[in-house]
Symmetry: C2
Subunit: 227 residues, 2 copies
Amino acid sequence: MAKAEQLSEQEGGAIRRRNEQAILAAAERVFARHGYRGTSLQAIAEQAGLPKSNVLYYMGSKRKLYVRLLERMMERWNMMLDDISAEDDPAEVLAAFIRSKMQMSRRHPEGSRLFASEILGGAPFLQEYLSGELRDWVQSRAAVFREWADRGLMDPVDPIWLIFLIWSSTQHYADFEAQVLGITGREALSDDDLERITDFLTRVVIKGCGVRHPDQAAAPHGQPVHS
Amino acid sequence: MAKAEQLSEQEGGAIRRRNEQAILAAAERVFARHGYRGTSLQAIAEQAGLPKSNVLYYMGSKRKLYVRLLERMMERWNMMLDDISAEDDPAEVLAAFIRSKMQMSRRHPEGSRLFASEILGGAPFLQEYLSGELRDWVQSRAAVFREWADRGLMDPVDPIWLIFLIWSSTQHYADFEAQVLGITGREALSDDDLERITDFLTRVVIKGCGVRHPDQAAAPHGQPVHS
DNA sequence: GCCAAAGCTGACCGAATGGTCAAGAATCAA
DNA sequence: TTGATTCTTGACCATTCGGTCAGCTTTGGC
């Protein structure tokens, strides 16, 4: 009762937390499907099983609700960014990278689509994030990739395009789910399918970029190194 | 009704043609940015420099206008599907495939985003097309890819996932343009950039799938590959 | 049991939505 | 010039939009 409440008293009571979760889940679905402008609070309220006024009571406004969803998605994204260094094995890092992105598409398809919808619309709410935080994240990764290329651990590909390749090919299975299902003729992709696709993408990327084991590094592409 | 006006469907008078083109171009932009529901006829009319009533006069309804745009995009898509056979050189075909998809993203970014928005929303208007025409197209391509794998001209990858890989990684540069620009810090991608990206994707795909020259085919991969 | 705080919601607001319509303006073959 | 056709558009309609608010009920610490 009273005492048990203090532990998780980060914010609001149990009622508030429950209702907010219901609203967030409903809103994520609807925003993902119809975009920001195309979504009505009425539709969200119905999905959440609450009157419209109640949605506004908890969320303040449509805009605040939307921004909150984007921020939640950015948090999920940030939890994915394990640190890497040039000392790691490229093959392992790339495989883990692809796998975690694929699981993001699997576990949060609505969130992925929400993100996609926001960017498709010109990223009016995310421009700052894209050219700030996310850009830094990409640049730091790119530096490691370049280091690997210099050491002859992989072909000297432009790391930026490689990251975009991995993002796009994994995100595809969330964002374009309707197309994937229509073309494959299935009702849903199984865990097995996802596993196979992950393996396929990993193989193509690693082989396609000429990734080698640290032990058997080929001739470096950067400055010559005497052996 | 009219007396001799019936045959001239494609003609339709200079005024009509000019206004329809202006409306279609404006509508493609707005629909791509805000989705079907998020787009108002008022916004389209303003983009086209016409009163709202005039848009409805030419297009009949919002729905008809939207469907017409989708059909126009499907036509562009269809013009891209050159026939291929198992006798062709896999490397050449894949390179041409990637190149033409990349040019589609380049030449019709709004149309690409319109398509993406439709699929993101669950493809309410395109389900039939996806599981019909497009599915057949993919299957016929997939058969050729399998034939190549059987002949040892490439690794026995699942052709469907390969096609999705090519689609997603090329389409990315239209659909996620805002993200690409934000992260690269540019205002636009140059023709040179696009050329480099195309080369990169081509290299990774061809090398990653172990594509070989018809002359030097490796040991064929045994039996048919049906999953 | 008390009562402030939190939760709830129907009524309501001005603005915007897709679409209709009628009446006038421009066009064009005869 | 004429008369039919096409084009143009502001006024208008019912509905829905995001958001406010007042007044109600429920909750929970004391």
